[in-house]
């Protein structure tokens, strides 16, 4: 059933044992975002080195989707250049909104593919995007503007505003 497509084992694993949970000391980037729909919060801290994400950690509380997404994201982006992060964020956005993902040739299953089921649940796209929106906004504020597209950081497109 569709529910099992949403709540995949990969998410379970990350939800129960979140990677990189915590707050980095003396981070280069520190940003807190809230999901106005449900009140979920995430605090993201990053350390940067030579244009790359050296370390990433998240703190916060929320649903399975938002927490697993944050956990997978922090693992995924470590060591990547800012423009590579932007490219993956792009992929992830398409994946959760439209269910589209093109696996690079020769690559194995990527954990972000486990979020493909989200597109069947439009009200949950925001949950999946919370950590990524925080990341993109944090990088943008840090000066990575030229690599990033504005619409990611605001998440307007495809996500109906749902404030209370």
């Amino acid at each position: 059933m569709a529910l099992d497509e949403l709540y995949q084992e990969v998410l379970l694993d990350h939800y129960k044992q979140p990677r990189n949970k915590g707050v980095l000391a003396e981070p280069d980037i520190r940003l807190e975002l809230k999901n106005p729909f449900c009140g979920d919060e995430i605090l993201l801290t990053l350390k940067m080195a030579e244009g790359r994400v050296a370390e990433a950690a998240f703190e916060g509380h929320g649903c399975v989707i938002s927490q697993a997404s944050a956990s997978v994201m922090t693992e995924k982006i470590k060591g990547l250049r800012v423009e590579e992060v932007a490219a993956i964020a792009d992929q992830f956005t398409h994946l959760v909104r439209e269910g589209k993902y093109e696996r690079p040739e020769g690559e194995e299953f990527d954990e972000i593919e486990a979020f493909a089921g989200v597109c069947e649940f439009p009200t949950r796209v925001k949950c999946a995007m919370l950590a990524w929106r925080t990341l993109l906004q944090g990088l943008k504020e840090h000066g990575g503007r030229e690599h990033l597209h504005d619409h990611h950081a605001h998440g307007a497109e495809g996500e109906t505003p749902n404030r209370g």
Partner: protein
């Protein structure tokens, strides 16, 4: 006793193939409409549509009559002494903002105080935060206790000669708390403060009499009481309306317009600038006819019985935490199940055809106070029955089983 099967037959939405299996438990957010309301709106557009208060032809007269009759209908429904005390707005939120701009902007001064309860929906809090900022006034909060109740004695401690307004909800949309308003209103009046009552969750469910309450202002929305979206009401005592300035300016709200200045129309029309939602008002009046046809006492008793049943059935579920006063409350049941996030719970229940609300319910102060990020919320109305409660309970048990490895 309400015969729910007969009631449901009046609501076309439940008969649609897409909704056959629907258990709708989110009436605190918005309700559905019976065909009587839909037909009244349809008939207005088909037969009586014109711009009211304007044309000198019979059709326009009928449109004016339809609109003004709706106003009288609303006045009668809430026990207002005269229909001029009813101002149509888009919703309860706009009605609060009308008081904030029209009344508070003139009558709240630097150093004055506005008392808001911690139970308020954002719509009865944020406008007062803005007034306080603009006018240099201070917001003070009437706290709720562990059960979610307010204490009139505590209000005494907050009231002083600086108090201008008490903003208080009659029924909390997040916890279901029913505030017995009269002692709060009397104490506020004794201190010289006016009282604005948020009736968004009470007017749909119980007989409200503004004169018996002695409320200065009462706001509510049509769509939470079987009426259409986009129509709401501000009731205000006539002397307050007379002392208020409009905050929307334009057509129909004026009596005479010169090149550089204008004079305002009489109340309530001076607060209704531009062409109004006449069909909305007509639909709201039809919703009130429908509710009165059943009887507000019967509606209230039905809601009470279902809410009591829900609390009774939910309370014994292991690891289910109920919030709010027990057992008497408005038809709103807020809860959390184990450590399942309300969003995950709502998604699961939706797969079983059960629509509940999850989140902070536009009452983040309530959530903060309880140390919660969010709750799940089931709310009931006259088209819900015992089976809906049973389906909810079954759904919750299934959810617990489904998510057990996630806990």
């Amino acid at each position: 006793m309400i015969e729910v099967s007969k009631i449901r037959a009046d609501f076309p939405l439940f008969a649609q193939p897409e909704n056959r299996d629907l258990v709708y438990l989110d009436s605190a957010a918005t309700t559905h409409r019976p065909r009587q309301v839909l037909e009244a709106i349809d008939e207005f557009y088909r037969r009586d549509n014109a711009n009211p208060h304007r044309g000198a032809y019979r059709l326009a007269e009928r449109a004016t009559t339809a609109y003004e009759s709706a106003r009288s209908r609303v006045a009668a429904f809430i026990g207002a002494g005269r229909s001029e005390e009813v101002v149509f707005t888009r919703n309860a939120t706009e009605a609060v903002n009308l008081v904030a701009w029209g009344w508070a902007e003139r009558h709240v001064r630097e150093g004055d105080e506005i008392i808001v309860t911690e139970l308020e929906h954002h719509s009865n809090l944020v406008p007062w935060q803005m007034v306080a900022q603009r006018r240099g006034a201070k917001l003070r909060f009437l706290e709720f206790d562990q059960a979610g109740n307010l204490d009139p004695v505590q209000l005494e401690g907050l009231l002083s000669e600086r108090s201008r307004l008490l903003a208080i909800t009659q029924v909390s949309n997040a916890l279901g708390t029913i505030n017995p308003l009269r002692p709060f209103i009397d104490k506020a009046h004794a201190a010289g403060a006016l009282v604005l009552v948020d009736g968004a969750q009470s007017v749909p469910h119980t007989a409200v009499d503004v004169r018996a309450l002695d409320a200065d202002f009462l706001v509510f929305s049509g769509h939470k009481m079987l009426g259409p979206l986009g129509i709401g009401v501000l009731y205000a005592k006539i002397e307050h309306l007379e002392a208020m300035e409009p905050f929307l300016f334009g057509g129909d709200m004026i009596s005479s317009v010169g090149y550089h200045s204008s004079e305002w129309n009489d109340v309530p029309w001076k607060f209704e600038a531009g062409t109004q939602n006449v069909a909305g008002a007509v639909g709201l009046a039809a919703a009130m006819d429908y509710l009165d046809g059943i009887g507000m006492e019967a509606v209230a008793e039905h809601d009470r019985r279902l809410t009591r049943l829900a609390v009774e059935k939910l309370a014994p579920i292991d690891q289910l935490h109920l919030y709010g006063p027990m057992p008497e409350r408005g038809p709103v049941v807020s809860f959390n199940l184990a450590t399942i996030h309300p969003h995950d719970l709502a998604t699961f229940l939706d797969q079983k055809g059960i629509a509940i609300r999850s989140g902070h319910h536009c009452a983040q102060v309530v959530m903060r106070k309880l140390g919660l990020a969010a709750t799940a919320r089931a709310s009931f109305y006259l088209y819900n029955d015992e089976q809906d409660v049973e389906r909810l309970v079954t759904g919750l048990l299934q959810a617990k089983d489904y998510f057990k490895k996630w806990l």
